[in-house]
Point group: C2
Chain length 268, copies 2
Amino acid sequence: MNRFSFNQATAKFWPLPDVIEGCAAAGVPGVGLWREPVASYGLSRSAALARESGVAVTSLCRGGFFGADDWLDDNRRALDEAAELGAPALVLVCGGLTGRSLAEARARVAAGLEALAPHALDVGVRLAVEPMHPMFCADRSVVATLGAALALAAPFPQAAVGIALDTYHVWWDERVFELIAAAGERIACFQLADWVLPLPADVLVGRGLPGTGHVEFPKFLTAVAEAGYTGPIEVEVFNADLWSRPGKEILADTIRAYQSVTDGLPGV
Amino acid sequence: MNRFSFNQATAKFWPLPDVIEGCAAAGVPGVGLWREPVASYGLSRSAALARESGVAVTSLCRGGFFGADDWLDDNRRALDEAAELGAPALVLVCGGLTGRSLAEARARVAAGLEALAPHALDVGVRLAVEPMHPMFCADRSVVATLGAALALAAPFPQAAVGIALDTYHVWWDERVFELIAAAGERIACFQLADWVLPLPADVLVGRGLPGTGHVEFPKFLTAVAEAGYTGPIEVEVFNADLWSRPGKEILADTIRAYQSVTDGLPGV
């Protein structure tokens, strides 16, 4: 489990200190955090607790939403928070359409990255552009493919802008393995979640633990390893049924799921 | 309206003869038909009624589902039916996963096209590979992008295999306009539907009439025209609310929607 990281969104209602202590107790070396629970518990307290527990913060979710009025200040603050937590990457959910034009919304993301890249370098946190599943294109992220995310990252230094790869969002793409190979060191964050059917009424919360659905995890893990990525592997699953269970059980099941899909793979 | 075609799935519960007579009465020159209602009314009767009414059958839905046991016979029959109806294209919904491997499922589609292409040429009906939205990749179509559909079509003569372009399925793709330009004469069928939010519990039936959602229709219509396509423009909208209304009203609203998004565009 030396590369495993438990993203706290997988146990949405488990209090932050319990998540960190639960990870430490279970021998989980990393945790992915979200800004809202961090703010509720307190930024310095969260950072101190993670440090004292020996659990590394592998990413902070989320920045982005470049269509929001206060996007610049808010994203700068998010970078500062990630830096204080010791998180190497800030995951960006880039936002959907605000007007009619998809091209305009995409240009806004590019401009947002340009505005933020210097601050990312200053504080030593990478902006990780997350391509989201195309079913979220209108309302959550106009960045809908790994190809688009890589194109957005390309003009910037590796240390400033990378991509966040979540299997749930990209598994369907016939180009994904060649794009992962091309991504190389742009991979700033790697998350596992499975595509399960049927989609629920709220498609946002219908993801499955790895191994319960249709994603071919060995192919993804191998491709990402071959691209040179040796960093944390997070499991991040938004699932309403899973969320209704006690945090400890969710963590235990997530560990089992992670082990089942990584079993026997070299370097994991 | 000389290029408009009303796909009967837009008024799912309107009986086939009423659809055809309704189109004729409203001056609609084309109709897209589906196999099940055609079979219920009778293939020859349907063909005769369309011919006598002067309404051209612009496409037949659907062949495909290459993972089904009887896929070969069933698709050959579908081609024969399209030929008898005078439909130039058989729309293919290629089927989802049946095992774990997406690559295998995609290879099965390629093999299916190879098996069917000679019969398509014999009967003079084009197989139209429809890329479907990636949210349907697991259960309806492993062909999730226009790029994938074009790659599948490429080995075959234009007259045997083309693609079916439905705005609903491809609007989010940052490559779509360059792919439409590359598609050229491969475009065998062109359908309009809009992406509306929120997605309903059953995502299959949440499409909107053109102009009610997020798709930029002028850009698509212009791109398809520039690619050289001069054929029918179908409106095909799966929407549970729309379906609950009387067929005549649905047709009238569909005509209005079509006119609103094509207004002022050259050649439409």
